[in-house]
Amino acid sequence: MANPQQNALKNIVIVGGGSAGWMTAAALSSMLSPRSVSVTLIESDQIGTVGVGEATIPDIINFNAMLGINEAEFLKATNGTFKLGIEFTDWGQKGESYIHPFGGHGVDMQGIDFHQYWLHSKAGGNPAKLQDYSLCALAAENNKFTLPDQNPRSVLSHMRYAYHIDATLYAKYLRKYAEDRGIKRVEGKVETVQQQNENGNIISLTLENGDVIEGDFFFDCTGFRALLTDKTLDVPFTDWSHWLPCDTAQTLATERVGPLLPYTKATAKTAGWQWRIPTQHRTGNGHIYSSQYMKDDEAIEVLMEGLDSKPLGEPRKIRFKTGYRETLWNKNCIAIGLSAGFLEPLESTSLFLIQMGISRFITLFPTADFSDAVRDEYNIQMRKEFHQVRDFIILHYVATQRDDSPFWNYCRNMSIPDSLKRKIDLFKEAGRIFRYDDELFSKPSWIAVCIGQNILPKSTDPIVGSLPHDQVEHSLGTMRNAMKQATQKMPMHSDFLKQYGAAV
């Protein structure tokens, strides 16, 4: 057996800064010794990044932990706030809203999911909403926050959270982190790409100023342009816009006013939806829509109407196409970030998909003469990840009763992937949901959206149905009270942040 050092990668090149590039650089710098591998990141100040106010999901905590980043310091550096979930308004029907919280609802009993008990109790006349049994949702509704308790018996152990951050500041923070650990940053624009004749592997990049950067492995973090993946290697793009027809966004920051919300808002509009992401100093807003169903002018009007404070600057337009590349690792190059694919930020998964792209690479870390088996495994695993996220996002569009616009009429009636159809059918039957293959969105997420958008099962679990009514009501009441009391004791989100990680 060979020591991996004999055929080790010696020169890793990352093309493009931004969240994807600097997350990759930071992760590699935390793992690799600069003595054995050189890592170079090429970026150009002339090329802007897409980074807007960014919402995340709890997995980012693992990424930061892997890097050994201190949470308070991170919040200060990125203008960050805490996030307990997303409030969806006008999705199922106009005038309705629900919270998709992190963490589950209630407590499972006798091996049966909590929501079965709730469905049973609701059928018996209990008016309480499902989210009344979620600690994260209760805290969110009251603008409260506290960190989870490690003691599994404490009610507060049910807290799960993520962050709202300024993505540009996050990239800047990671840049410093990576440079401190020996990553080399090269300023410049890539002009041409040189490939090996026999196998098509990339061997070097030539910059505008004539400098040549050689490498034995490349990361394409060049955003929508996909400089290496698309322009050089010609990897085909799989278009999903028939399932997710939005293709344009108008973004705009506003002044921060009112209480600091510990959650993201996603409000459905006539031909898309609008986000609201609160960071410490300002609020990020964006209206995502389908250009087939709405003109830019109208979209800007909708955006402005939906703002709750004074705009800072002018709206910025971003065009995109939803879909991904089936093979993210081609030759000796991996696409990470927008070059890999785009799924709208409805469930805040952009940074997550970047993070998965990086951690999968690290577990599969190849030698310079790696075989197809390694590359195939990466592509299989990433493909699954994209499909799972895609299905969950489509669920929000298809599970609607709205018929007030051609856009919603399309979404309500469109054909959907079989994998999603099976899930919805199974839920409609008796409220069963199963988590496949370690998928990102687990049972509570599917349940929150299905029930929040009025997919109610025909029947409930027959075994719950046979339990004494009083006993079920009593258990539910106890849980709800415990969560209510715990929420009352929590500090306000803004107060907690002030003493924990306020930016200067």
Binding site: M1, A2, N3, P4, Q5, Q6, N7, A8, L9, M31, L32, S33, S36, Q110, G111, I362, T363, L364, F365, P366, T367, F370, S371, D372, A373, V374, D376, E377, I380, R422, D425, L426, K428, E429, A430, R432, F434, Y436, D437, D438, S459, D461, P462, I463, G465, S466, L467
Partner: protein, 509 residues
Amino acid sequence: MQDVKIRNIIIVGGGTAGWMVAAGMSRLIQDDDIKIRLIESAQIGTVGVGEATIPHIAYYNRLLGLDENDFVRKTNATFKLGIEFVNWGKQGERYIHPFGAYGVDMEGLHFHNFWHRYNQMGQAPHIDNYCLQIRAAKMGKFQRPDARLKNSPLNSIVYAFQFDASLYAKFMSDFAQARGVVRTEGKITQVSQAPESGNVQSVTLENGDVYDGDLFIDCSGFRGLLIEQTLKTGYEDWSAVLPCNRAVARASQSPGEPEPYTRATAKKAGWQWRIPLQSRIGNGHVYCSEFMKDEEALDSLNKDLGETPISEPNFLRFRTGIRKKTWNKNVVSLGLAAGFLEPLESTSIHLIQTAIARLMASFPDKNFAQSNIDYFNSRTHLEYEQVRDFLVLHYHATERDDTPFWRYCKNMAIPDTLKNRIDLYKENARLYRHDNEVFGETSWFSVMHGQGITPKTYHPLANSLPEEVLAGRMVQMHRTIENCLDQMPSHQEFIDANCNFETKSIDKR
């Protein structure tokens, strides 16, 4: 609203599968409205031989709320730390597939990467020295994990059981009947179906009694009385990759203290199991009839018995594969009625247990929603495929070419899922556990390594530890395991102190 509640559950067949599901349901369904009846005939034998299990059985026991010592005592059981495979990779070689992990994972990487590196640095001790379970198995030692010991391998011992399957069925039967399951003796001679739906409505016994049911559980063994003979569900044959189709089983005298592990010895056209119980040894020779005659198989079994036989040989025929739908209409099949995978990795009871859990999670009403059934079937199928792949690995990863049987196995086409996994390990020692499969990284590593698959290289990040640091840790781990072994009682001592089969009568006093 129309009443769609299931009130009558009929279980057909009373072997291991039948009584396990009866026991499970009697515990989980606390509803006086729902009646559970199990029909079995004393005339029809069960296949049950000495049976080995995997650690997941602990979940089932916990679900039922069993007292483990009581359970061990009543089923003639011993403890099991793994399986020893003899003559698989090459003749004369042996390795143990342990239930517990090797060494300690470091820097987010599996231990075996570090062992590979350490081996390269010089003379690493054999990988077995880093696994407490393997060392304990070889020395005939056993104890349960001791949670009070922090940072000691003794707090994470993982084990299963080897027991007498007939006694196990009896144990489950007592449990179920004590909780309201009604046992009916009789042979089913007729099955009637609803005209439109084709659902099974009732079964008629030899004596003319008719039993109606809403949900039927077919545990009738290979013949699949309801799932196949009545519903003609069809069978997916996997014998191209697992060609063994016969077994001959026989018990022998116990030579002394029982080993805390099962042995599987590869032979000319199959393999032989050896499962030590407290008072005797279960043996069986699994073979392929295309490559070996029954008489030769029996001779070979007898020759390798080692001790005096104490039962007549029992011949079994099977075909490896799975029912096309293990749940069809209102019939759910379990155990051998659902499919067959040879007991090389002791998965039979596990597959019954997970199917029961899945059935309970998807418990139907009288509408028998197709989406519910489809889900059950696709997951059951996936689970069988995962076990199949792992079994095929044992036959395929061999250098043996001494018989036509082994030449066939070595060269046969294998499923892509398995091929990818072997290729990836060969490339750089990477292993993954997919989709919650029952066998994790330790198991895949153990068999691949034990059967001579050597990766080209290991994970490069295993080089991140300085040589002295790695060497220091490796020595420390080795020493810790030796220290633990000094403290462990022998398997027999442990049984005597906690759960001896022979002392059962004393307890009853």
